[in-house]
Symmetry: D2
Subunit: 343 residues, 4 copies
């Protein structure tokens, strides 16, 4: 199947290009970018920041404008900035494309699935309602913001097994989450920035939407405090959880460890063998050593222990913010859609 990437020169766009290099199902046929870069070869238009080299055949593609008529594809991955995504993504869906977007613009639209496939595979059915309501043949599905993507995978089995009442989360986020050039070195060397615009609100709302029923946000409460640290890739999150039914730290660790969902059962190409890997060592997870687990798609959890405030559990979760938290998640959504014939 043919795939297009909208906004392919940015950091998330590059991650899409990298992950689609040798994908089992999708072949990239179109890369789009800003007007300024239109017509030039991708290799020249992009400031390639991935750790593996850009594949030559990908580099030779000419950058196109982000318009439906320039695109020849079965699925369209959007790494557009939010302000552009609002209109352009709807244009593509109207033109009949299946759009999977990393932009925040439509995430909270009621008839747009906000998906982290292991957490809410069943939200795919919202596409039917979306097509009815919006009178289009295409589809628009979004992945969560990177911090929520990391958080909701370990929360899902806890929610399923014990119910969620309260979640407090404090993040230590990687620089790549801000794109490129993004965070100035003068701001982050020997420093922490205790603020990421809009992030806490997103985490709070998106977590409830993902872990709720399709079209209906969950009612447990979420409080987030988001911080930037001097890490290249990988968001670390300190999570404190109060469950509805009592659960020991051991039980919570166990349910995360055993967790597997439709993407695993369907053996989707981008699905990690284990969505959550629970480490027993005292000092894990660590971004540099654990962000690559499951080719960046697993969440590594550690330090599952008693929480004295909630009489629940606290733990540390880590995930790759531009893979599980962005491009990888979108790919897994597209694979999920294809498996259910929405593409």
């Amino acid at each position: 199947m043919k795939a297009a990437i909208l906004g392919a020169t940015g950091l998330v766009g590059q991650r899409f290009v990298q992950l689609l290099n040798d994908h089992a199902w999708f072949e990239v046929t179109t890369l789009t970018g800003s007007e300024r870069s239109s017509g030039t070869e991708y290799a020249k238009a992009v400031n390639w920041r991935m750790e593996t080299p850009l594949k030559a055949s990908m580099g030779e593609l000419r950058v196109q404008p982000s318009e439906p008529k320039n695109v020849d594809a079965d699925v369209v991955f959007s790494a557009l900035p939010a302000d552009q995504a609002t209109v352009i993504e709807e244009e593509f869906a109207k033109a009949g494309y299946a759009v999977v977007s990393n932009a925040s613009s439509h995430r909270m639209d009621q008839d747009v699935p906000l998906m982290n496939p292991e957490a809410n595979f069943n939200h795919l059915t919202l596409i039917d309602e979306q097509r009815r309501r919006r009178k289009w043949d295409g589809a628009l599905v979004t992945n969560p913001n990177c911090t929520t993507a990391v958080l909701t995978i370990p929360l899902k089995p806890i929610s399923d097994n014990f119910g969620l009442k309260n979640v407090v989360m404090s993040s230590m986020q990687a620089a790549s989450g801000a794109g490129y050039p993004g965070v100035a070195s003068l701001d982050i060397i020997d420093n922490v920035i205790p603020y990421i615009s809009g992030e806490e609100e997103k985490v709070q709302q998106e977590t409830q939407k993902i872990l709720g029923a399709p079209g209906e946000s969950a009612t447990f409460k979420v409080s987030a405090s988001c911080h930037r640290v001097a890490v290249l890739d990988g968001h670390t999150e300190a999570v404190f959880v109060q469950t509805e039914r009592h659960a020991s730290p051991e039980q919570i660790a166990e349910c995360m460890e055993e967790f597997a969902a439709e993407p695993q059962k369907l053996k989707l190409p981008t699905a990690p063998p284990r969505p959550v890997i629970v480490r027993k060592e005292q000092d894990r997870p660590q971004p540099r050593f654990d962000r690559g687990e499951g080719r960046g798609m697993s969440i590594v959890v550690g330090r599952v222990r008693k929480d004295p405030v909630f009489d629940g559990a606290k733990f540390v979760a880590l995930g790759h913010n531009t893979i599980r938290g962005a491009a990888g998640c979108a790919l897994l959504i597209a694979e999920s859609m294809k498996s259910q014939r929405y593409i």
Copy 2:
């Protein structure tokens, strides 16, 4: 008055030396160190890591063994490692010295004041009981671990004004907290270490002891998750608070801003003009820009905002871990003791 520093070659020992360079009340007469360094000049025995140069007169002092007979002082500051502190500090107190210690060994002893002077100046009275019970003329007082020192200053006015019910805290701690050489660069460049041995238990217990009545720990609950980040100095803490009586974020910010305690009233030399500085900018406090406030003795708080879980407030607090969190706090304790004639 004459002051001695036990364990003067370590990182906290150096901070004592630096802060006592030109102190209004105390003059350093003795520096002690390991057997290996005994007899050599301090300048040669120390691997000086402070950002200001070592004062020549200090560097010329010969390092002494950590024994009472080698010390000529009115007050003894201990930067000994915990395993040595247990016995040595008691020996000094028995020999009649007033010992102010940064070591964790005696912090939780019931008759040893664990003090952060703005938070529990009244705990000084425990010294009377200590003298009675232990039958010594000296005194042994401890400062809290660095993370607790930063946390308890902003919590105090909240506790006084609205009562504390639950406190959840997630820290991003500086490398200097682990001493020198401490954290290996291979462990912290492009990384976060989500574990600091014993730290969370200390924060939970010490916070309750400090904010309780003398000899009686408070009963509100504290849950901590402690992490090391690539910062040289300055611990950043994300704090979520549930109060007993309802308080808006504005009220909480206000009570912190207006907070002043005995050290301020008595104008003790090391007391910062304002124990808590509340910043209004969205992206403060930051370690590199705020750790020096009040010559490292102020806690800088920012992002005081509504917390959806506790219906209370969340905020970010920052303090200098080897000044307010160690040597500076110990100095302020000694000044407090002198003001009340315990020295």
Copy 3:
């Protein structure tokens, strides 16, 4: 005397503001900035990145456009970007202002002194020729680029005492040299960037101009390789020197240590007591510990040792790139000009 700062919101502009806070001779009366920021208070227009807080009275000044008619000053410090500096600085000089510039635009103009005062105080006399030729009452003097500023101070006494034949220099430059936001954190964490646009050519030409006679570049050869490393402030330079007359490493260290020039003799306010500080320790200078020497105006040299290739000496030099290498150097130039009645 009254001073204006052109381009006051950038990183070097901020350093001028900070250094002129309490200057003995100059008082800031005008700050200029981009059109966009014109009319707003400086405190609001600037993203203050200095480690000390912005003085309130400075923050209240309203930003002016960079035009002579808006400026009321005896001396004008220019932190303009090179493309704007070319024309604007000439306009100010034509309007009668004494302009001291950090921009590269006019540095290599034959009748414009390129000054690092301890190295070429006598170049001030070029101002007379400049005024004749350009038919203006003002003056235009420039400071060198930051890397050259650090290099030429220790080279000067070597040149005076032994003559220079060849200089090879390899730099490890701080992020602040690229301004703000400047170097992206994704480019410099766990990385070195072995290229700084135009820097090597500047070092090679400017060093020869500074250490030559007024109006006549020196003929010794200079080869530079310039690299960016993960340091906030302070350029480190590995220098290999071939002298005309034989000199031992000890002699070279000695001549640097004893070096003093007109700014020291005249006790100019910004002149450091010692332009070069020679450290004996094996592992100095280091940016974090030595960049503040002489309030950022001293060059700290270490590891003066035999060089097997040139049969000369090699050493490591370090200086603060935005103080000695920019704003501080410009201030010292202005003080030098005033001392010789060019202002």
Copy 4:
């Protein structure tokens, strides 16, 4: 063939373990370590710092003492500290083992080949002399220190084509070069350390030995200045070269690009397809993006340009210090020995 690793728990030892995980020719049968760790499983004895997980079968090996009787192997890789290597390596050679060592102890022994295989494959013949002289059946061959390993690969084709007269080199070395824990984070965050004990002497001597005839050091001169920067892996070196016969930068780039030696011709398993990769971009090589080239065995060179001092060329070279600069180089030596039937 069977391989043993002496000193397998250190950072270079771990790199050997990682590289030998799936080696075409060698299978690890013995891992040795300190007395303290003898008898325990490797997985428990090691603080694994590699970026890929430790293979389970390797982790289950029990650590042995570093004595010949405990070892069952055809080739012995030594990652011992220099002080232990001196005696132990000779014991193994005496006992008939082929020892390839990363330790510095025997590198400058006249009858011990110091090899970087692409640069001096012909030095293997020294083994014959060594056996005669030392009256043993084993063999002792060493790889150079990491900085020299990176330097001598690009120098070799220049030496072959144009002759070498003078080499000036200034390094920016990674933290992993100092082992683990090695460089303290308090020493390298926001800092450069301009000193690495013994390193400059090693670079100067070892480069001459490698690029000389077997048993006879070359006579061109080398001057090094070595510095530590905040990089995890990958040494960056600024190199200034004076050749005997005139060569343009283009000619020098070309001879490096076309360079291939015996390891390439013999297609040895660890030999990179191209020993030197010359990048044309202005800002390469960079450690984070280029240290993995040729699975860490290629040297990436960039910025080949005119050098005004030597009328030769200057360039920047980068190589992975614990692969090409240590364990990978030793593996390639062993493969070279096997290809010539010395193993």
